[in-house]
């Protein structure tokens, strides 16, 4: 009987621990946790200094508000061989889609490099050309090295170097409101759906 009681306590403790770690069985990974966290807190983009692909310098927060558009943000580095390529072609498609639907005034794409040491504005410019980015729709930018940490932290991006001299990072699309609030984080292939929702929302 005592064993039964103790076992029930142990099981309850275990379920509680698992439930709290998984936010009530909703998630298993830190990536999901980060997405849920951003969706709940809706933090504001940090007002860090960004340099765009043509060398122009902006304050991130001010720039978002000046643009007064929804932003779809992804994080990349130009030397990337794997994930960012998928992100790149996803953004290419999104760009085409935005132009076709005439959404240029409402949505803007932004690729931020987390490798500012290497990705100078000239490198970014080349990269943008290579991807045939239309500056009206799609911008590239890199933060100052000192600001990288706070930027990555706000967006919940983890970057770790891998054995081949590149980086592994969590790839996702971050949806930023014109007010500068981060609304949510979705899979990198979910851009179409976001546009649909945007069109439907009014």
């Amino acid at each position: 009987m005592k064993t039964l009681l103790a076992s029930v306590i142990v099981v309850l403790l275990g379920v509680w621990a698992v439930a709290s770690m998984s936010e009530g069985f909703e998630l298993l990974t830190s990536e999901q946790a980060r997405r849920l966290d951003i969706q709940r807190r809706q933090p504001v983009v940090p007002n860090v200094r960004l340099t765009d692909q043509s060398g122009g310098a902006h304050r991130f927060g001010d720039w978002v508000q000046a643009q007064n558009k929804f932003l779809i943000v992804d994080f990349i580095y130009t030397n990337c061989q794997s994930l960012c390529r998928a992100l790149g072609s996803e953004f290419q498609q999104l760009q085409r889609n935005i132009v076709e639907r005439g959404l240029q005034n409402r949505v803007h794409l932004l690729s931020i490099s987390f490798d500012p040491e290497h990705d100078s504005y000239a490198v970014l410019g080349q990269y943008a050309n290579h991807l045939q980015a239309n500056p009206e729709v799609w911008s590239f930018a890199a933060p100052a090295s000192a600001d990288l940490e706070i930027l990555l932290q706000t967006f919940g991006v983890t970057v770790i170097p891998d054995q081949t001299g590149g980086f592994q990072h969590n790839a996702a699309l971050v949806w930023v409101a014109p007010s500068g609030k981060l609304l949510r984080v979705t899979d990198y292939a979910s851009g179409e759906q976001l546009l649909d929702e945007l069109v439907k929302s009014n």
Partner: protein, 186 residues
């Protein structure tokens, strides 16, 4: 003091040396497949130095084995593995709970008969298989702090371990059973 206890305490301390800890946690496979079992082992060894908990609270080792499987399950959640790297309280909890699981195993395994052991294995082995498979199959990295290649190796390791465990267990069914487990069948 019991030499086993000393060995256990020593092992636990050694695993906590920042340098060794950093190396072991730098790679997901070392973290799950080396550090975890070593902490469990340390707990197992330590158990000899502590008074055994009252048997009426741990009939046939049920409570202990249940606790051990719960703790193991918790530490197989990818998010937990990620969080210990940035959260020191959780890291401390990891060491304490895994050592506790090791102690629980040391106290409870000899008490348990075929059925309780079977139930424990029937829980833990499929769980390891599931997590291993999950790590191998996941198209994305489940732990943001680890490389996807690490994840693949860890998954394969877990899978191999659980398959080996299952075969060993199956084999035991066919062996003459005069070893432990027969005398105290529960």
């Amino acid at each position: 003091m019991n030499p086993q206890t000393v060995a256990g305490a020593g092992l636990l301390l050694m695993l906590n040396i920042p340098f060794i800890r950093r190396i072991m946690e730098s790679d997901m496979a070392y973290h799950m497949l080396l550090q975890f079992p070593l902490i469990l082992l340390a707990g197992w060894l330590l158990a000899r130095g502590f008074p055994e908990p009252a048997k009426k609270w741990n009939y046939a080792g049920v409570t202990g084995l249940l606790a051990a499987s719960m703790i193991l399950m918790f530490w197989m959640i990818p998010r937990a593995l990620d969080l210990v790297l940035i959260n020191n309280t959780l890291e401390l909890l990891k060491f304490l709970s895994l050592a506790l699981a090791g102690m629980a195993l040391a106290w409870s395994w000899p008490l348990a008969g075929m059925i309780v052991r079977g139930f424990f294995l029937g829980n833990v082995l499929p769980m390891m298989m599931v997590v291993g498979w999950l790590y191998i199959e996941a198209p994305v990295r489940l732990c943001n702090s680890y490389l996807s290649y690490d994840q693949l190796r860890t998954g394969s390791g877990l899978l191999a371990l659980s398959i080996a465990g299952s075969l060993l267990w199956l084999y035991a069914f066919f062996m003459p059973s005069n070893q432990a487990g027969n005398s105290e069948i529960r």
